[in-house]
Amino acid sequence: MNQPTYLDEKFDRVKKADFLKYRSGDLPTWCPGCGYFGIMDAFYKACRQMELPFENICTVSGIGCSGRTPIFVNSYGLHTLHGRSIPVACGLKLARNDLNVFAVAGDGDALGIGGGHLPHVARKNIDITFLLFDNSIYGLTKGQSSSTTPLIQKTNSHPAGNPDSPLNAMKLALAYGASFAARGFAGDPEGLEDIIIQATKHKGFSFIHILTPCVTFDKVNLTWNRLKENVSYLDSVHDHTSFESAMRIANQEPFKLGLFFQDTSVPSYDENLDRLNG
């Protein structure tokens, strides 16, 4: 980050805000220092900011450390199967358009075992908000390579080094035709809060790629230090209506944050149905 001053601001806001009401009584089971705490912070605040009715929030997760998210939210939550938060969230949203449906997934969930669902929720433009907790590692199963682990990095499954090149989640979302694609950082809950708010308001599928450290199993790639030193927000000149420039930045600058792409002209799935059947 350019200005690491946000911590002060943060304490200030914490004092004033009552966003903790969106937090459940359950104690997080995450390791001290895990990036997920920052994400939750951002999420609670975004809910508070939008004043979402608690009972209309549904968080749907897969399996992994990230999968525990719903249990820490004071709302309805469903912890599904590894990789399957998207299908379940889609069914829930289509059946209950009145709810705010958030789907949560780890990088293993979203790009590994569940990687077949993402293209379709994006192209169908189903109106859910998707939070990809990308720590570039399998956390809960203790440190195996994931779809975003860099080539050559040593992990518990590849002690001699990972032979697989990583996927670039942002490129994927763009290629799939996501109508909203942004990137946030667990170390900047304020910035992430804004992104979550924009995403929630977006009518259609919104994809949020969140860079977050696994302090226990990744000591070299997405560490707090490496992230803090490298992330930066997109220039204000970035035209988020341009697929091509979003794709170019996604391809070249892995640590850019902010709104990469948004197309508000694409009808959401339910709007399309209304149009076709109405």
């Binding site: 009972e55 719903p70 469903l78 912890h79 889609c90 209950r96």
Partner: protein, 586 residues
Amino acid sequence: MNTFDIVIEICGSAGEGTISAGEILARFMSSQGYEIMSFDSYPAEIRGFGKCVAHTRVNLNPIYSPGKYADVLIALNDKHAISQLGFLKPDGILIYDNQPASFHEEDQSVAGMAEPGVTLYGIPLTQLAHEAAGNSRGRNMVSLGAMACLMEIPKDDFVTAIQNRYASKKQIIIDNNIDSFVLGYNWTGENIKKIDEYSFKGTEPAPPEDKLIINGNQSVARAAIDSNISFYAGYPITPATKIMEIMGKELPKTGGIMLQTEDEISAIGAVIGAGFGGKRAMTATSGPGFSLMTEFTGLAVMSEIPAVIVNSMRGGPCTGLPTKTEQSDFNIAVAGGHGDAPRIVLAPVDTTDCYEATALAFYLAEKYQTLVVLLLDFFLSNSIRNIDVPKPINPSFLSANIAPEPDQLNGYQRYRITGSGISPRTIPGTPDGMYFSTGLEHDENGRPAYDSDTHEKMTRKRFVKHGNALDEAPDVVISGDDGDLDIGVISWGSSAGAAREAVDAARAEGIKAASFSSIMISPFPEEKLKVFADRCNTLLVPELNFTGQFADFIINFLQRPVVKLNFVTGLPMASEDILEKMRELR
């Protein structure tokens, strides 16, 4: 005329109009007041000139199975029809093209290969079709005309049936079809001397009632819509595809949504999502898709979320025989997926049951907050019956969720252990009923818990609930003699109709017998089964799989030997085969 019973088969290669001729025949018979059951066989390939058979059984009384052997075989294609001759009765009728387009060797002509007792009627199908409409496309109609004439069926009523079938088509198509039929009828009347005994003359069917001519898939889809389903998710697969297609057409009309997913995993996931949201939802698939769904079935059971899956079984394993019938997914319907995961399984026996079992499935899924599997098979999905219009669904079936009373919301526990095993359930949007649900083992609040006590208690809760669903089981159907029996035939699903007919035939031969079947498979009405079994000297369990999956299942209740009768021919169960075994066992 109680014994009037005719099976007509039309056999051709893909593209010769075999299936549509069969459809017209069946609809005509129904319109006259006959009971019908018709069933088509076709190859798994789109093209390739594979063999098609349209099989129709016509009767004055209710029919329970399609009948194995045909009285009349109409051969549109000699090569395929030859392989069908084994299913023509020894004294049956063969109607064939005596001037086929291409020359046949003696041993490739169906007429040359028929058994001596068969009555042969050679009709110049191709030539007459050309005369009627200028090309050979109408051979199927010509052959129907010939058959109708030989069977002494009134011409005009049949013409009306053709008219109705093609009503939405261009006039020239209607005309061509009718002309072909009429020419076939007239030519036969003028040129052929009837020398057989088969005839519709003198049969007096009941005046046509308000009937639905539908197959099992249509029956299921209709019941789902009548049960206020609001969400369907699915992925195409034979023989369940049609259910999705009907949903795609009908659901939007009632404001519902049909979501075609990227695979079956996503389909059941979406159904569970909708169920969590408090809406009725369903998916339909066949073996390969069901295998893929089994991981998710555990979530419905563990998180106690209503979900309905139709599995219309085809020949297995693997891709197997996609267009053939089999009952070999019994095991995974009852116990597929890892862990101890009780689910309700219903296996309708006929087209009417398909409707009722579907309505029951939604009710049970909602009330017992669990997975319900409806087991159909290729035959039940695709065979057509003319059934009575179903009775309106019991209103109590339409809204079955047990919600907590307002005073239960204080300290609300989503997974509270109750006597019935059912915990009152809130749905998202309810302000004071918020909860977290997980496929991990969890305590009464829904929080993950891995201690021994919790897992034991919660496992028991899920099984208690499952066991209680037996109270809602449709009556078992026992048909046949009272008292002590030589043979009791225990069967399930689409095989049960054949069992029932076999028992009737066996009784006529002096065997004391009865058949037993239950639509509810899991939980199973084991006490009723035991009472029945105690009356039986020998137990016979016919089913369409190799190892006797259902037989093994009931042996666990009975702990006594049963005689297994298994077929993996891809064909529906035949009462004739059961009867033969009963004679052997008598």
